[in-house]
Symmetry: C2
Subunit: 238 residues, 2 copies
């Protein structure tokens, strides 16, 4: 029994690895998380660019983690884990397709934990994927880090204080999940004189993609803000 | 004239994106950095798994940045930039294949700056790639971040103090380029009670791959150390 978390990248179907495509094709069953059973999920759209529809099963799943491990959310993960465990008992391998990278803020982590409780012998593997941070950097022409620069990555669900502390101690700071906090994020960036160089992205690789300066009002939950290191050219730090 | 930095991932030829393969195949010329003209470079090995040899040109290039922007290193970048600029004048597009991601501690950043000085009209693009951090996480079964955890990424060339500060303020800490400092890195991790859970990797995806606990002696320059966040199960932080 193998459960494989496969990174589908940020949304552009071309930004998956050759390995991810092979693993999806070889898996006995491919499971995709969706918010509701009657809509195409974000990971699913990339999966379907490389795989036949009839080998893909939708799994209704809490896709964000705004609430942390609340009883309701634990129950949702448990229901999902029951479905996957049942599939694993009948199949040799189940691939769980997840946007981004399965080891970076992915619901796969919670699913794998819950499946392990049901099937202690399950082998869990992951295939890395391109993260939103990397896709936004490439799309916007932003260097994430060079030379001796440090990079901090955090979700704004951790609080604006953590974001501000990162701006103080680190060179490049990347914040996820800040859509609803954008006005406050702009204020913190301006205070640190880093608003002008900051880059915002949402729905990367999708038709409603947004890339550019930070919007002045709220934006989608799954958004990315990059505050690049202050730099001279050629690796110098300011 | 287009100069495209293409991420080749950590070494495993399957860990490149579908887009990277397409861009390499469509480029008029593919350039790969090598330490010396008579050996296959690390990025080159992955390129050659997807492309004919006769479309690939080696470029002797300073691949590490241990010395920062010293006169010798600037000269090496200048020579490389002259070669690439000359190729761009004769070709529509030149793809520069680089290990990892072209926006994450990549020599592509320096090359692009130097080419822009020579050809102000050049269009510079990048295609993201899987980083060593992600490959090591997948290979070792290490979750990089979940829930509200923060992640710090830094090169140990920035100094052990920066590493220690990151361990104090951040949940997961990833350090690159620490091969020669491993004994000191072990001491700092032990002091913060994080040596037992730390993971080490070098030469990922290559025949001489190393993955496991931190070695007790020096290791290759291009190495990765992950100190995962302290966790309970299901997203809880200790």
């Amino acid at each position: 029994m193998r459960l494989i978390g496969v990174g589908m990248g940020p949304g552009d179907p071309e930004l998956v690895t050759v390995k991810a495509v092979r693993v999806l094709r070889e898996a006995d069953l491919v499971v995709v998380p969706v918010m509701s059973a009657d809509e195409v999920g974000r990971a699913e759209a990339t999966v379907l660019a490389h795989l036949d529809h009839d080998r893909v099963q939708r799994l209704v799943f809490a896709l964000d983690d705004r609430g942390g491990a609340t009883p309701d959310r634990i129950q949702a993960w448990d229901v999902a884990a029951d479905v996957v465990a049942e599939a694993l008992r009948g199949s040799g391998s189940v691939a769980f397709a997840t946007i981004g990278d399965p080891n970076v803020y992915s619901t796969f982590t919670y699913l794998a934990d819950a499946v392990r409780e049901r099937l202690p012998d399950v082998v869990v593997e992951t295939v890395p994927g391109i993260t939103a941070m990397q896709a936004l950097a490439a799309h916007s022409g932003t260097v994430l880090c060079e030379g001796t620069e440090s990079l901090a990555l955090l979700p704004l669900t951790a609080g604006l204080e953590v974001f501000e502390e990162a701006l103080t101690h680190f060179d490049t700071v990347v914040a996820y999940k800040g859509g609803r906090h954008l006005v406050a994020v702009r204020e913190v960036l301006a205070k640190h004189d880093r608003l002008d160089t900051a880059v915002f992205g949402a729905a990367l690789g999708l038709p409603d993609e947004q890339v550019g300066p930070l919007p002045t009002s709220a934006a989608p939950y799954l958004s990315t803000v990059i505050a690049p290191a202050r730099r001279t050219t050629r690796g110098g730090k300011l």
